[in-house]
Symmetry: C2
DNA sequence: CGGGGAATTGAATACGTTCAAAGGCCGTGG
DNA sequence: CCACGGCCTTTGAACGTATTCAATTCCCCG
């Protein structure tokens, strides 16, 4: 079991190409701002573009009043919450081009924590200002509906991917397929995925122990379905993976 | 282990009180229609109110173009899909006052199946007509945003309830708490829940076998946390239940 | 009253967890 | 440049839990 000497985290950090606006979930809201006349003020004045976020930094925490909704432009964001007993519960991850914070629009406050896993960057739209703009410009309301509808759809997809799965292998396979599909949006590769988060975070998310996750990864590798190289995974047989996930 | 002789399904069917509009997820969209002047046409002409649905009947199926979004007014709706291998995958349940079908707004087609478990009734809003109305009446757009935002929030809650849980007991406890919270909205009782769906459907949803679910239910009953009586459950110790679910 | 499907219970097996130990990666310092 | 230490990841063995298959009980409906 030889391993290359190259540092994987450095490899990942090196590939710091921001996701293009065309491939971003926020685009529906940003686009009309970009072409409109007097609306140009929105993008320049109220919106933060490609704001850097340090590894480990929290974008928002549970219980805080909503300030903004975000889109990832580079890096990975972890969505999680702490249980009463102090245990962390990982609820999901957001990748370049994906939206987060929208779950706080209805309750007016954040209901979970959002934390950067690695060095990341985000576009940030303050919600008050956005709602002000939407009142004056009906098309923005349309776009907001589009935006949130899409998020509803994605959440449903997520449920489909992780609910009603029993074995560790099935859950891992479903996770990898989900990663591959979402990865294809922003990264070129159709078969390679970079997982910036720790094994602990993935295991937590899947409701497994880190040891079980590790064993399942090893097993899939032995079956020639994937190739594991630290935080970089290669999908060798996506068809077999779909079978394992029972899709 | 004595059991009462009364038929449980008949008991449930007997309590056929439609959920009030005040407690319905669609209310945000319906209300302005009810008070507006020329908008009265919407509720009378395009919207179906309390339409009966026979047990087993499908409201919509995966792949069909979107026709309408729905709210349950009585009974229970099962959200599910069939995998490539023919296995059914239960993704969730909708109870009186809750919305469903909204996940099809973005992709313009239904991505899952919605089936009535028992005799049910729904309010139905055709999507084309709704969008037409929204174009003319900005407040409806506002309400639509409110509606879908709320649904995003609820989906996140669902994820939190079921993702990142490992043991059978933990998942069952989380399920029961979720049922209790959602039940409190439309039914008076704070401690009793009626589960119209089969044990198979629940087990499928939780990623367990029916036997494991049955055993877990029995165990929680022996621990004096719940009382199981066919499809009717009573929560005896909700605090202990929250501990078991690791909330 | 009796048949059939759903739900529960029992025993053997398979799988995931736990605890322990070893290996690999990376930053620091000699 | 290499050695050291800490942290994350992987592997091993014993144990506990979920699954499987089979049998029984319960419940609904004719």
């Amino acid at each position: 079991m030889k391993k290359k000497n190259v540092s994987k985290t450095k490899q990942i950090a090196a590939v710091k190409n921001y996701v293009a606006c065309d491939n971003c979930a926020l685009d529906a809201v940003c686009r009309p701002i970009k072409i409109g006349g007097h609306t140009l003020s929105l993008v320049h004045n109220i919106m933060g573009r490609n704001e850097p976020v340090a590894a480990g930094e929290y974008l928002y925490c549970k219980g805080e009043p909503i300030r903004a909704i975000y889109a990832v432009t580079s890096g990975t964001i972890k969505i999680a919450q702490k249980t009463d007993t102090g245990r962390e519960q990982v609820l999901g991850f957001r990748f370049p081009g994906e939206l987060f914070g929208e779950e706080a629009i209805f309750p007016k406050e954040y209901t979970v924590n959002a934390q950067a896993i690695d060095e990341a960057s985000v576009c940030r739209i303050p919600i008050l200002e956005l709602e002000d703009c939407a009142e004056n410009i009906p098309s923005i309301q349309q776009d907001l509906i589009e935006l949130i509808s899409r998020q509803c759809f994605l959440m449903q997809q997520q449920m489909a991917a992780y609910v009603a799965r029993n074995s560790a292998e099935e859950r891992l396979a479903a996770f990898l397929i989900n990663m591959l599909e979402r990865n294809a949006f922003h990264s070129g590769s159709q078969s390679e995925i970079s997982l910036a988060m720790s094994r602990d975070d993935i295991a937590n998310f899947l409701g497994l122990r880190r040891e079980t996750l590790s064993r399942s990864l090893s097993k899939l590798q032995k079956l020639q379905v994937i190739r594991v190289d630290g935080k970089v995974l290669e999908i060798l047989d996506s068809k077999a993976l779909r079978l394992l996930a029972h899709f």
